[in-house]
């Protein structure tokens, strides 16, 4: 096990070095001199040269890359062009909101597990067909399309119906995200409301995917020899399904959920944009609009790091529960 972890850690380092090189190349390939951007529109060539010198842009590429990596190791992702604030500080302000959304979405997507198991156990039944078909339809819906329609329904249509039927003045789910959304429960209820719809949007899409995968995994497992053995020795169906079946079939699905959590930490950009919810994704989106490259690349680097580490943890957990992985290669 230890050997496996060491090997994976070593791979992680190689991958991270690759990521810094590619990100560095991408940043360097940017058309337009960053010094000119920083200096403003009517700067003299001397001023541009000075800023360029201060940023180290006149040094050889490998020196610049070395400095870039050294700064990264010190947790310095550079300075935002637009806000004139360290990128790391901006990330710290936003990471909490995004983490909350990611965790909520992953919790919702767990609903896919019982749905998938049910589908597999009643293969080709009416409910299996209905669930599988709707899973495939929902799977293909882009996040922003679902977001726009859910937003319309819960914030406009539903309150309108409720008000006209009951004559009350309900304005729908709270939509202004509170800044203080660090903690779900001790925070204000507004922040919970602002979490519900985005998390539901992300979650429902993943429920479709997870239930489809869980169904496939479960179908494969219940056809295996050890399930036949378990049945043959007279175990109750409940025990066969839960203890022998699900315990094996859930592993690949939990892997997907773990990777999702890592991806959502930085990848909730579309959802956060649709709902205008503060977070890492919205920060990166705004930075793209402002061509604020240090924030874009810093945000992407941070998200990538989280994603890679989440993947590593999932892999190690997988190897822990399934010895074939760690002994395999």
């Amino acid at each position: 096990m230890l050997a496996y972890i060491v090997r994976r850690l070593f791979q992680l380092i190689i991958v991270l070095v690759g990521v810094t090189i590619i990100t560095f190349i991408i940043m360097f390939a940017v058309p337009g001199n960053p010094a000119r951007l920083l200096a403003g529109k009517d700067a003299t060539p001397a001023k541009i040269a000075l800023i360029s010198h201060n940023l180290g842009l006149d040094r050889p590429l490998y020196v610049q890359y070395y400095k870039f990596v050294v700064r990264l190791l010190h947790g310095d992702l550079g300075q935002s062009y637009a806000v004139r604030q360290p990128v790391m500080q901006m990330i710290k302000q936003n990471v909490g909101n995004t983490a909350q959304l990611a965790v909520a979405a992953v919790l919702i997507e767990m609903l896919g597990i019982p749905l998938g198991v049910y589908s597999a156990l009643r293969q080709y039944s009416f409910w299996d067909t209905a669930l599988t078909t709707s899973a495939l339809v929902i799977w293909g819906i882009p996040v922003f399309v679902l977001g726009v329609f859910l937003e319309q329904f819960f914030w406009v249509t539903l309150p309108h119906w409720v008000n006209s039927w009951f004559g009350t003045m309900w304005t729908g789910l709270p939509q202004t995200p509170g800044r203080n959304v660090w903690l779900i429960f001790p925070g204000s209820w507004t922040s919970v409301g602002a979490l519900v719809l985005p998390a539901f949007t992300l979650g429902i899409l993943e429920v479709a995917y997870i239930s489809y995968m869980q169904r496939a995994a479960m179908l494969e497992v219940i056809r295996s020899d050890y399930i036949r053995t378990a049945r043959a020795k007279g175990l109750s169906e409940r025990k066969v399904v839960l203890k022998h079946g699900l315990k094996n079939a859930i592993i690949p699905v939990m892997t997907i959920a773990g990777i999702d959590l890592g991806a959502l930490m930085g990848g909730a950009i579309v959802t956060e944009t649709v709902f205008n919810r503060p977070g890492l994704g919205l920060m990166i989106y705004n930075a793209i609009g402002a061509r604020d490259l240090p924030v874009v690349s810093g945000g992407v680097l941070f998200a990538t790091l989280v994603y890679v580490v989440a993947n590593l943890i999932v892999d190690i957990a997988y190897a822990y529960v399934d010895p074939r992985i760690r002994l395999g290669e």
């Binding site: 293909g140 882009p142 726009v148």
Partner: protein
């Protein structure tokens, strides 16, 4: 000895399906004949195939018309006509404008039609770029192993390390928005999926006896790769391609929605959705609803076809 493409199947699979066919008295089907038979029985996959066919026909017809300089759509998709949007909120679907008009009087149906072409081109070219790169690097990696393999696979690891949509956004920030850049970015970033798939397939196939036999006959590496190994490793690649076209269409729509994909005045489903959100919230449902439905239905077509194809080519699921 002339052998058709369908005959080239993995050795043990061939004997299994042959003996099965003999036992049931049926004519032996090749791998693709068998796949087609199983695919046809999957209703969702058939629905997916129908959707894809309509999408392909409509998309290609508009593309050919575009090259020929003819406008296939009933109206010019970018023609502004304020008479058709008297209150600045568009006009609802009618007989002359089946999908209605938008806030500056452009015909939604014509815009949707043009957007179909954009989605088709982005989907197909992006996947073609990715598959070409994957098919160039994957076999080299899997067949030779060693340092080349390690280098290519570590590079693939790096590409997989980024959350996909963020990587696309990063590249698009640098390349700048635009139609060509969209499929370039999606294509270049997706090669690793195909390279890994082909490599895995080749690793399992290269130990097969028929590869050994080919080598014993003195076949060159290139001949072994292209004549014996690749044709036998294509099934999962086709599945990935079907899903990949759907994925590329979603990515294009997302990029356009975020404003860094297809640029105005050109129509794209994602761009239309972004443009019409405010009107949708004002109760003018038709502008947003039609492109959304087309986008979702098309992507569903590719996903259900891809899933069906996966089930149909999976030897484990054979009865």
């Amino acid at each position: 000895m002339a052998r058709s493409k369908g005959d080239k199947i993995v050795a043990d699979e061939a004997t299994a399906s042959d003996s099965q066919a003999r036992a049931s008295g049926e004519k032996a089907l090749g791998l693709w004949g068998d796949t087609w038979r199983r695919l046809r029985r999957n209703k969702l996959a058939v629905v997916g195939m129908c959707i894809i066919s309509v999408f392909l026909v409509v998309g290609m017809a508009t593309e050919i018309a575009n090259i020929a300089g003819v406008n296939l759509a009933p109206y010019d998709p970018n023609q502004v006509d304020y008479k058709l949007s008297p209150t600045g909120l568009g006009s609802p679907p009618s007989l002359t404008h089946p999908f209605g008009t938008d806030y500056i009087g452009r015909d939604i149906f014509s815009r949707c039609l043009v957007a179909t072409r954009i989605s088709l081109i982005v989907g197909v070219i992006a996947v073609a770029i990715a598959v070409t790169m994957g098919l160039a690097l994957g076999p080299v990696s899997g067949f030779y192993g060693g340092a080349i393999d390690a280098a290519i696979m570590r590079l693939a690891d790096v590409f997989f390390a980024y959350p996909y949509i963020l990587f696309v956004l990063l590249i698009m920030t640098i390349l700048g928005p635009g139609f060509v850049n969209v499929f370039l970015a999606i294509g270049i970033l997706s090669w690793a999926t195909y390279a890994r798939l082909v490599r895995g397939q080749i690793l399992s196939i290269k130990t097969m006896e028929y590869v050994e036999a080919a080598r014993a006959q003195g076949a060159s590496d290139l001949r072994i790769i292209f004549r014996h190994v690749l044709p036998n490793s294509m099934a999962p690649i086709y599945v990935s391609m079907a899903m990949g076209v759907g994925g590329a269409i979603v990515t294009e729509a997302t990029l356009s929605y975020l404003g860094i994909g297809i640029q105005p005045p050109n129509a794209s489903w994602g761009k239309m959705i972004a443009d019409y959100v405010t009107y949708f919230q004002a109760g003018r449902w038709w502008m947003l609803t039609f492109p959304s439905i087309l986008l979702v239905v098309t992507v569903f077509g590719f996903i259900s076809f891809g899933n069906g194809l996966r089930d149909a080519t999976d030897p484990k699921l054979k009865e």
